[in-house]
Symmetry: D3
Subunit: 331 residues, 6 copies
């Protein structure tokens, strides 16, 4: 079934087009309206297509700024090929500054392949998968830790058993050159509802980039995003130049044991910093009782050693919340 989403952007036209995906939505205050999802197409003749996505989660801001800046400032006359961009993909979530859409509680990155008649989040996923991905060669999906987590800037490639695809992804990680690159484990391959799974279904090479987080923006994370995206554009032949930098460190997150989850409710006091190298059994932090502050805090420990690439960025935590995770050197 075709999408009900329309747009006045002509993806085959040269030049800069800045407009909206019109996602039909009937609400109590607007009977016949649509949700205006910002979209852009920059094109200059034939060539490769890069699909840039920011705001897959509404509380991840670095990608929203980076993608917005590119579509605002890049002169389409200077590129060869095409950039299609969604700077604020799950737009209701972006407007709310929340991970999930406030309309349908939808997590866009768990909504693929979507449904043209489903909730707004699922209708959008369907459009991205059925309309945009078939046009793309490479997808960069710019995430961060959002309101709940903070990352050492890291580029992620989904695990694959296809050797050619694996090689392409590895090359792309080197091109992007985030401080840390993580090659996904086969375990992650069962998750087929993400945008990266959708990209794989369409043979599109893609990276997910995790840039900072904690509901805020830092100059350092933005700089990494800007440089990495530019390098991928140069790599594709879209632009002629980009700034080089230090090589990335190839790591892996080989199992769920790399993650630490809160075993109780409490106020999270981390005992490590992002980037620390830790050993198995080392405490990641303590959970303090909010209601009985003199209770002995619960100590939480790493289940495997490695580099701390992600930490929980909210004090208040619930049992089951991820408190952080490590990556390990690629074997």
């Amino acid at each position: 079934m075709p999408s009900r989403i329309t747009t006045d952007i002509d993806f085959d036209r040269d030049g800069r087009q800045l407009s909206f995906l019109r996602l039909p939505h009937s609400s109590n205050t607007s009977g016949y309206g649509w949700i205006p999802i910002p979209a852009a197409c920059l094109r200059n003749g034939p060539g490769p297509t890069l699909l840039l996505v920011g705001g897959n989660h509404g509380d991840e801001y670095e990608g929203q700024i980076t993608v917005g800046e590119i579509i605002r400032t890049l002169d389409p006359a200077l590129i060869t090929g095409r950039i299609i961009a969604l700077p604020a993909a799950n737009f209701p979530a972006v407007m709310a500054g929340s991970r999930l859409s406030p309309i349908d509680q939808g997590n866009l990155n768990r909504s693929f392949p979507g449904d043209p008649d489903g909730t707004p989040t699922r209708a959008l996923a369907h459009y991205i998968e059925s309309v945009l991905l078939p046009m793309a060669d490479i997808l960069l999906d710019l995430h961060s830790g959002g309101a709940s987590m903070v990352y050492l800037p890291t580029a992620l490639a989904r695990g694959t058993t296809d050797a050619a695809r694996a090689a392409g992804l590895a090359q792309l990680l080197h091109v992007f050159a985030a401080p840390v690159s993580v090659v996904g484990s086969p375990a992650g391959m069962s998750e087929n509802r993400t945008l990266e799974a959708a990209a794989e279904r369409h043979g599109v090479l893609n990276l997910g980039i995790e840039l900072g987080g904690g509901a805020r923006v830092t100059p350092a994370a933005l700089a990494i995003a800007r440089r990495g995206v530019r390098r991928v554009m140069r790599h594709m032949g879209l632009v002629a130049d980009a700034e080089d930098g230090p090589p990335t460190e190839m790591m892996e997150v080989s199992s769920d044991a790399c993650f630490v989850y809160a075993s109780d409710w409490g106020l999270f006091e981390p005992l490590v910093e992002l980037g620390d190298d830790v050993r198995e059994g080392q405490p990641i932090g303590r959970l303090h009782s909010l209601e009985t502050p003199w209770r002995e805090p619960v100590e939480e420990r790493f289940r495997t050693g490695g580099r701390v690439v992600c930490l929980r960025a909210r004090g208040r935590s619930e049992r089951g919340d991820c408190l952080g995770h490590v990556a390990t050197a690629r074997g």
Copy 2:
């Protein structure tokens, strides 16, 4: 009028007492209940009294952890005098992890001198001012930037025209030895609804300590809190020893011009880092349009030069939100 709050803590008894202030509150799910505000008294014979407050705002976590740790771990036999502590002062706000109490939207630090028959937040302010402050010699009120701001750890003393009090406060700042100490300007003296204003009304020397923020906890900010509080305890004669550290830098926030406020709605991209020394007119950051990402962002600028001691820690910002402020070298 006396407070309706009761407690089974006997503030004149030696030893460690860990219990609750019972703030009567009738709700739809509890007709005759009370709000259990954690409280502690550690006492060993006569001597000075230190009043320790954490959780004045519910989203400021460092003080909650620091005060909770002291009342849990400090052996009362080893002190001389008394420590009275509220580790989670605005308890409903602490449980919600929010600055304000979800019951009455009360900001405890704008609720003094309070009202025994007022909302829970005002009833608590009245208790602190009418019952606890008269017992205290020194008050340490441990804050942080909360969910919206993040601080370079800073100790603040309220401005005063009383020379003796000013000297006492300056000494206390040197004792606490936060990385930055700020002596308040006379402008701040018109704000009489804060806990520090209440302390001044009762002749209690007090500091407000701003430790990190951004809705999270960092080991570094906690370390400063622990050391500073211990040094004040040593200074008062409550404990014998404490760890010394580098001297504090005495600064001032001389006028509202030290603060930068958002002139529009948008996504805040800071262009400086905490601790940067900036000049007047330098951009503090940009506000990006959420709904039209290709709109030129709004640049916001410092109105005066100085050291960046506070920055907004949330991406999404509204017109009027404080984006940060500087402190200047004390003249």
Copy 3:
């Protein structure tokens, strides 16, 4: 799968039956209850069946009043055939006075063919389509602009490529004789989730009537509803007499270009009135900034000329909201 909805109305029994559809629904305050959807059957021997629906949207009041009046006041002994009526179809929405059901945010008119095990709105759609429509010859679905729009009273017939059906619908429009009649365009035929699409699936001739709106009721719109429904009843042979009136004007809404959508957020100042004949490019109104009232307002323009049959009836508007639409003379 059969519906789980039951009723004690016997649709084959003569006389007036006023009761409820019992839609099973388990809530936090009622474990074993049902939602009581008002329903009526007026029958006198064999003959045609008219299905009357009000309250498809809860904020559209004219139909609720008109259908309620008929089932309360019409003597079944004076009819030939049967009237089945749902005066408050999406009952939870009707009770809330909102377009969508507050229970499941369901828009009944986008929920067909429904699902017997789905949310209440979808279960109701399934019942209407699988139980009521098979009994009907003609369906009148009485709408209005609801809380967000206001209409020049207009009868709408869904586009069809079936010539016999098209002729039947055209005749029905002349019978109802609303001030304006609109024959749907083929473009609308892709929308298969409406009650009118369901009617077409069952070979039931049907009109959607748009009567005023703006969250209020006017005597003029009610008079049009009462007369039009009565004329359809006479046309079907259900009743012997009805009041005639001026002929309707046959128009069309040939494309999406007939609609104007807000290009930004703001306070909508219309510059035209309902019924005005406008030309392409003429302003429909202005959007004023709420937060910066001295900003130049955004002017919105008609994309095609025609008669203004619908206008937004709420000052506050969001990008994507429909601000109004025109109909054009039928070519």
Copy 4:
């Protein structure tokens, strides 16, 4: 006690100043922010001062547009004297499009004389009364029926026992020349919490203008607002010219018997139109049962005859809601 609200507008400076009142407000997402209430000063030398207020209630839009237009378009060089304007006075209510502020549920027009330490609505009332009114000669407070009522455009003057003030108000009503002018009854004088009561306390002549309503904007109501305000400006000598129009009709609302209130819950079907002349006992409308549509509707009747100047503009009504009121010829 002085207000804590500040502004960078200098009310003694010539020219056009467009900025904000800064109402300090600490929220869970902004620790140190302020609410930015739009404000303007247009001044050209000495002369009279007109205080213009729109958005006293957030769902009354005509005044917001009219005042915003004046401060945006009127060349201050062409005036003699001063215009101080609050186009969106209860700013949080304006942003929410609601009568009351969503922050404190405050009705600004029942909050005078206010309180500098009270809720935002009360702090604003205090600023208007203690800072702005002392500068004004005449106040025009532009209202409408808001979301719940709709008016025949009407200018209202508060009743007074001071003959000179009464004469001044009567003259002002003739100057404004709304279709209907209503001179307040003594009964209204006990209400001392309104802006008009505040104006009287400061010897400022003032009118409240009721312009349409029903949560929407009409060109006709706006035209009346624009012309009336301009005539008052000409009358004051602020501007040289204005468009004249038909004289106003002087009426009165002599007692509570002019008002009709809903005696039950239901869906309101009005049986009269705005501007109708009605007699005592004539039905104003009917209340239909939402949940049992076949129940006999409740008929509501006028308690006194007169001209219908106000009608309820929402279908759904509760017992106690005002359904409309009449004005009577001035005796």
Copy 5:
């Protein structure tokens, strides 16, 4: 200051009058409306006045039914004197079925003496104290345990140091003859915000009756209410006859030690039943962990022995919630 509440009830007129107190209230959906608080006056010539109150708390249903029944069924021609009744006193709370008013979170029974310009709950308290109580000789305020507690039916008299008043109250308890009568302790006299404190201020003898609870109604509790109220009416000479019953047991609640409060959060399993005679230290029940069901439950114990007259009627409990209380034989 006089109340702004009006009514069309004439308290000096004979016969049955059933109408409303009109509490002016402006909301987002009704600009000029009033809250319709049901009220009744039954009068037959001169004589004593009984003020009957139900619905002081909205979740206490027995009194609402009892008072409603009396004003509906009692023939005023058969009484001597006057009954003034508020069957649903805190009307917004009654409509919501909650202890507190959803409009202002007001607990009517902690709002005396009220404020004519305060929130609706406080304005109502002011009306009851300033208008109704001065007309009354005796007040019966019919409560129950509401949603959170359940009572052994008990009549309560506020403690007093006035011997004549104490004698009058004791007599009234014997007249009402609830299964248990409790004479208040001096400790309760500091609570001056209740209706019973207001009654004492006006020299009105009054009882508070606690009838069942647990958010439900039982035939047994209703029977006690009906008989007791009737006996008080007979005692006053209002009616000639009433049904006698077993004598009441005079008890007291001498201190806060009679109450047991939850020391933690959990699911409350009571180990006693209402009416049990318990000894100090006996468990009242256990609190089970909701989130870790295998944690050892917390046992809660009576702090003094006595008769269990009240138990918590909700499984889920928070620290500080009252779990029950005992009364002891009157010494």
Copy 6:
């Protein structure tokens, strides 16, 4: 498709394991977390498996306590076989104390067979049906009337046309020996979304136990639960001993006519008690108007005679709410 839920419980391992089902759930405050559903496995060698479920509905507390107690206190060395237990099955509902999950409004007992990619409630249903039920021989699902109903303790067996299964269920009812046992009617067999329908699909014998309710816990209902579960364990050979009691009374609920539903909105006054034997036409209670207390209450009547086994436990009722039901002697 396999479940995405994991657990560290090894259901084939001997001993007591107390841990959690990890239901992946991404929220605005936890990007990568899981919902921690308490689970237990007690095993001692080969033997039969009993699956124990409490908290199928979050407001039904007796089962939560009973199951929690068993897994906490029963020594696995003393059993033969295996007990798998979910003491708080719909965990988000349990934490909220509500029938439905606050996350997805899911009623677990209408969510089978579930969906591994559906909402949390549906994902859990899928896990129970696809992972746990295949391991079980007998299932006991401990319910109560929850917040809205209260039961005479009753064991229910789903109707079946399979004679062997019917015999097994009848035996199980005698073993459990609740005061009342109800054999389900064939009418109930169309409901295939319940846990009992799922059990039947897997050939697992099961009972649903209704124990008290009314949002509270009683010692009497708990005693019945404890004894009945123990007897089933003895019957299975899991434990050696159990306490015997009086035999159960076998009854049936043969049709919907056993249920009484509210015909209007109002305050429910029951006129019968649980356990009463009633005749057809006898009043079950009255519905009193909340807003017009002097309106004649609506009397509701039993549609068939029998034993009252269930009554509504909330005063406030809506049309369609179940007010109670009877069971009849088994014919």
